[in-house]
Amino acid sequence: MIPAQFDYARANTLDEALNLLAQNEDAKILAGGHSLIPAMKLRLMQPPLLIDIGRIKDLSYIDEADGQIRIGAMTTHYQIESSDLLKRMCPLLPECASHIGDMQVRNKGTIGGSLAHSDPAADWPAAALALNAELVAVSKDGERTIKADDFFVDLLTTALNPGEILREIRINKNGSSQAYVKMPHPASGFAIVGVAANLIMNGSNECTSARIGITGVAAKAYRATGVENAMAGSQLNEAAIATAAKHVSDNTDINGDLFASADYRRHLAAVYTRRAIQTAASRV
């Protein structure tokens, strides 16, 4: 399990990392390394140069500014899981973090690395979609903001361009009711199905609008718009939620593998979507 040879450069600032990346187009950014290093050990990836951004201090923070929550890309899963600010203002994030891998993985893995990797069974992409997150990418040419809706392009493929680094994740505060539920693969811990539900409710137990992010089910995380449409303006009772949840796999190509066939996953997706919405609705 020894990776192919590579060169290693530690960037001390974001500018240094961007310069190195601009000069070496096949280089890879090394964040927590908990997706990249396993892939390099299997020689599925053989980058000639790793640019380590792990020591750039100002990429690791959880702040509040202009009505938004702002999270640095190098913030670890554990920092999010244990953040009191997030438990108060955006409980979906710590809840989602607590489901990732195990304690050691959460100590090292980062939210930015997970989003940039876009593993089809990763947890953060579902949360980012449900929360309507904005992802801030920087390159030598400047900065741009990408909506989570536009960020996940395909299997392990995002809207980040060569030379771009994901710098920050932004989430608008809106007092919504949230939940993340997941069926983990018993060996790997990754999601067979993961559902992030984010509901805006009015005083009379009615759902004004819903955003539902799904992971583990298809080649990339996606929004279950069929469920969202069925929930909008609907009463939050058991029957209405169960009916809406059935739309989770509308127009979606479902993964099947040795552990869970496509039919079984479709079934699970509806069950977990129902549970996610019910749990969120119970947390007004």
Binding site: I2, R10, G33, K41, M103, N107
Partner: protein, 156 residues
């Protein structure tokens, strides 16, 4: 190309030169001769290679030695102070928390982090904390009891 690094392991500075692809666990075992840290799966699953790096429990098979340059590492060899077992080590001894012992260094390092973050963990919290450590022998019950013992002892 080899790179110069310096890692403080169990309070001692070790300067050295490594290929960037050398995993931290191999550096600890094969270069520094600290074989208390075990290699089980090499695939980030079993937790036998768990160490503390700047106070965080990490699987040292999923980190390059170059990443640890300038860091403080604690391995199982560094836990006992002045000939006295660490409370977690004592817990594993008293509660029969091991059989073959292969998983034990990783279990103990992870357990120190659990009680460090939560001085009075419930059984469920201990099990959640140990999710990244596999044991093929004990059935885990005695390990959970060892961590409970250690938590009581550490806060006594």
């Amino acid at each position: 190309m080899k790179q110069a690094i310096s890692i403080n392991v169990n309070g001692v500075d070790y300067p050295g030169e490594v290929e960037p692809r050398m995993l931290l666990v191999h550096y600890l075992r094969d270069v520094l001769g600290l074989t208390g840290t075990h290699v089980g799966c090499e695939t980030s699953i079993c937790g036998a290679c768990t160490i503390l790096i700047d106070g965080q429990a990490v699987k040292s098979c999923t980190m390059f030695a170059v990443q640890a340059d300038g860091s403080n590492v604690t391995t199982i060899e560094g836990l006992a102070a002045n000939g006295n077992l660490h409370p977690v080590q004592e817990g594993f001894w008293e509660c029969h928390g091991l059989q073959c012992g292969y998983c034990t260094p990783g279990m103990i390092m992870t357990s120190t982090q659990i009680i460090d973050r939560n001085p009075d963990p419930s059984r469920e919290e201990i099990r959640h904390g140990l999710e990244g450590n596999l044991c093929r022998c004990t059935g885990y019950q005695h390990i959970v009891e060892a961590v409970e013992y250690a938590a009581k002892k550490a806060s006594a």
